[in-house]
């Protein structure tokens, strides 16, 4: 018959591995969020027909 310690060891071997915890940190890799963007230059170039220089200087004068 199997010696006690040997049997204990075998039992120990067989119970350690198939744990539900084994992959508990396998993390899913998500794709990045997309944020909506606004830009002061976009706005000015649209509003002042592409002339940022004009819009900047006119803005400065008006201050």
């Amino acid at each position: 018959s199997q010696p006690l310690a040997g049997r204990q060891a075998a039992e120990l071997q067989s119970k350690v591995v198939p744990s539900k915890q084994i992959l508990h940190s396998d993390n899913m890799e998500m794709e990045p969020e997309t944020m909506e963007t606004k830009s002061v230059t976009d706005y000015f170039s649209k509003l002042h027909m592409g002339s940022l220089v004009y819009s900047c200087t006119s803005k400065r004068k008006s201050k």
Partner: protein
């Protein structure tokens, strides 16, 4: 010298953020707000960019504050497109903060306005954001719940199914628009949603598409993500060899990209995969690599996990001394980080090991000699046949995906 105008400060903020220095960008935007402007559209653009900068800096409370200002302003001046954008950004921020209900309202607003304006690009982006909110919501409930293995609670399943539907809708539009980058993102998250739903074959199909697009763009981070996600899906399909191949590619790219944290994760996944393959030497090899990086990064939780895994692997090899060493270390770390369940697990492992060691040391000579044979196993003279025989008791290889899917 003339004082810098609000616009100049904002332009510098934009430049810095575009160059990737959000921290410096924020100071310029905040200075611009201090100077102030009567042009509400300019102010809206500044608020929006401040919100995004704080979002990228992971300061979500601040991000929330500025996106909220932006939304109020856009509504005040009747800028519908601006309102849609602000709503979308607010929705994304609320999602990260875990406020899913409000996040859905905001993202839905983004969607509604985009449809009203017949803005296809905006519509697609809103659909992607909505998918993300439902995905996070589902994942969040799933991890908080105490549901039985094998069954996702209905609310989780519903949220994840909604997420999948939104990603599919998004994919239809971005495919029409020929926007490959957006397709890549949608495939990636759709794959992860299928994975959580337990549709591992569908997950593989989606991540394969993601991989293809990542390669098209030469986007190595996205490529690495796809490999890692494919590895995860193949684990739950029970195809451990294939999983190990994908994790190895993940590891390779993580090293190329010099991302130590990701490298550690890949080593950990490989350690677990080789455990599933019952190749404990390789498992130990990878878990040790993971351990070294976790220590280097001062990641105590990771270190604890590594010790627990190493203890298990050494136990499986019959090397009880090493197993004891790591179980003790696991106990120490669990106490240190206040991980109660880890502490309990470590105690149980230790008492089991003490039982085995105690018996083998305290009985007769034949027992002692047996424990010597086990010790020699480290040097490659392990009695293989005996070990393999005892391994037949293990249920591991018989695990079906249904059984495995709730291991997380």
């Amino acid at each position: 010298r003339m004082e810098a105008s609000c616009l100049e400060l904002a332009l510098e903020g934009e430049r810095l953020c575009k160059a990737g220095d959000c921290r410096a960008g924020v100071s310029f935007f905040e200075a611009a707000v201090q100077v102030g402007t009567e042009d509400l559209k300019t102010l809206s653009a500044i608020y929006s960019q401040l919100g995004n900068a704080y979002f990228y800096l992971h300061e979500y409370a601040k991000a929330l504050e500025y996106h909220h200002h932006d939304l109020t302003l856009a509504r005040t001046i009747g800028d519908l497109l601006g309102e849609a954008k602000a709503s979308g950004n607010l929705g994304n921020t609320l999602k990260v903060l875990g406020n899913f209900e409000e996040a859905i309202v905001c993202c839905q607003r983004h969607l509604d306005i985009s449809r009203e304006l017949n803005d296809k690009v905006g519509e697609a982006r809103a659909l992607y954001n909505l998918g993300n909110v439902y995905h996070s919501n589902g994942k969040n409930v799933a991890s908080a719940g105490t549901h039985d293995p094998g069954e996702l609670p209905d609310d989780v399943k519903n949220a994840l199914q909604k997420a999948a539907n939104y990603y599919e809708e998004n994919l239809k539009i971005v495919t029409e628009l020929g926007d490959r980058a957006a397709q890549g993102r949608a495939f990636g998250n759709l794959g992860n949603t299928h994975y959580l739903l337990g549709n591992f074959r569908s997950a593989v199909l989606a991540h394969e598409q993601r991989l293809l697009i990542a390669k098209e763009f030469g986007d190595r981070s996205a490529e690495r993500r796809a490999y890692s996600n494919l590895g995860n899906a193949y684990i739950f399909l029970g195809e451990f060899e294939t999983a190990s191949e994908y994790y190895k590619r993940t590891l390779q790219l993580a090293r190329q990209l010099k991302d130590r944290a990701v490298e550690a994760q890949a080593c950990y996944s490989l350690g677990n995969t080789y455990t599933l393959l019952q190749d404990y030497e390789k498992a130990i090899d990878y878990h040790l690599k993971h351990l070294v990086i976790a220590q280097e990064l001062n990641d105590k939780i990771g270190e604890g996990r590594a010790c627990w895994s190493l203890g298990n692997a050494y136990t499986a090899l019959g090397n009880h001394d090493q197993a004891m060493h790591f179980a003790e270390r696991h106990l120490e770390i669990s106490r240190e980080v206040g991980d109660r369940s880890g502490e309990l697990t470590a105690r149980l492992n230790l008492s089991d090991l003490q039982m085995v060691l105690g018996l083998s040391y305290s009985t007769n000579n034949s027992m002692l000699s047996e424990s010597h044979v086990v010790d020699n196993s480290l040097n490659g003279t392990r009695p293989r046949v005996g070990r393999r025989h005892s391994m037949e008791n293990m249920e591991l290889m018989k695990l079906t995906p249904e059984k495995v899917q709730n291991w997380n």
